[in-house]
Assembly symmetry: C2
Homo-oligomer: 203 residues x 2
DNA sequence: GTCTATAATGCGATAGAC
DNA sequence: GTCTATCGCATTATAGAC
């Protein structure tokens, strides 16, 4: 899943940047609601108010648009969980904040939920992306638990690798329930409770 | 999501039943791999070796086929978790067995994972089905925790409703990881560990 | 019960005008 | 940079022959 920035070299690009931004936003909405495979660039173009050809001028193909969307989402998420600066209990605390933020953006939650499930299939254009992403998430979480353990902040009997898996699973599973239940419970509160049972320090 | 059994009234139906069974199996494969919306009855018919028209003779429409598949899956699952007979710790123990069984049927895991995420959208033909199903699962799980608590088998501070939510989320989240990781870890072992931390009795 | 034929629609992508 | 026009293909579903 590579990017093609392909910016022009001079002049005023504000309009183009704006168009691209609107296409990406509409793409998130459509792929979240229908998935990637069943979501059409036709519909995305309609939402923006341009033609399909107009859309394909900005993004060479449907998979290219998907790649750009995933990249944008990662960039936004990185603002909440900067793995290079946070670690240990601090990072686990950041997870609660991220979940709380997600609750204000149902569209992004739905996009992740639908695309990750769809990308389970080996032939899906985002399969490699999600495999790599979960690998990274699990490694980051495990490191956080390991650091917490080294600081004596981890309850006895909690093993970092398994705890990382469980926490990640809890996040994803809660999101599914939250979407099906129309956002009628507090995900962040549940994650906080889960972490409080694993840590010896206050959150 | 209603069913149209519509059986003929006499004669030998072995052949028809066999055809229907093969269509359902192929449907599970295709919908698991591509989701409902992107999976085509064309492809399902191809896998069975019949025409699309032939398939639509047995199942009136694409949504009707989906309904039949979900019903079949529920019927199979009911053999593992009979809610009318099991309760409390016994039912929670049964969850581990169900997860262990699921690990032998990756196709069913994928079907559930992809369809439940897809059905998050209110317009999806299986939306009402999954909303009702999760409502039932959460109520059943909560009752099991409540019974366990009444028997003094529950660790202090575990609240049944939340625990039911967390356990269900863990199951779903682990399935997603398991599919992305190509089945390279033991889901049942993780669920067992989770339950062992919540219960005061051996599993 | 299964087929062919067909209808009507939607899809992603390309070519070329402006 | 955006458009129209068009291609080729896949989709669900129906009608009617056998």
């Amino acid at each position: 899943m590579s990017t093609s920035t392909a910016r022009p070299r001079r002049g005023s690009y504000a309009k183009t940047a704006e168009r691209r931004r609107r296409i990406l936003e509409a793409g998130i909405r459509v792929f979240a609601a229908h998935g990637y495979r069943a979501g059409s660039i036709q519909r995305i173009a309609d939402e923006v108010g341009i033609s399909v050809s107009g859309l394909l001028h900005h993004f060479d193909s449907k998979p290219a648009l998907l790649a750009a969307i995933l990249e944008l989402r990662d960039e936004q998420a990185r603002q909440f969980m900067d793995d290079t600066r946070q670690d240990g209990v601090e990072l686990l605390r950041g997870t609660i904040d991220l979940v709380a933020y997600n609750q204000t953006a149902p569209g992004l939650v739905e996009l992740h939920c639908v695309l990750s499930a769809e990308a389970t299939s080996a032939e899906h254009p985002a399969h490699a992306y999600f495999v790599a992403r979960y690998d990274w998430v699990l490694r980051t979480m495990r490191r956080a638990y390991e650091t917490a353990a080294a600081e004596g902040a981890l309850v006895d009997g909690i093993e970092p690798e398994g705890a990382a898996r469980d926490l990640t699973a809890l996040l994803d599973g809660l999101q599914l329930q939250w979407l099906l239940a129309d956002g009628t419970f507090d995900m962040a509160a549940r994650v906080r409770l889960h972490l409080e049972r694993q840590l010896t320090v206050p959150l």
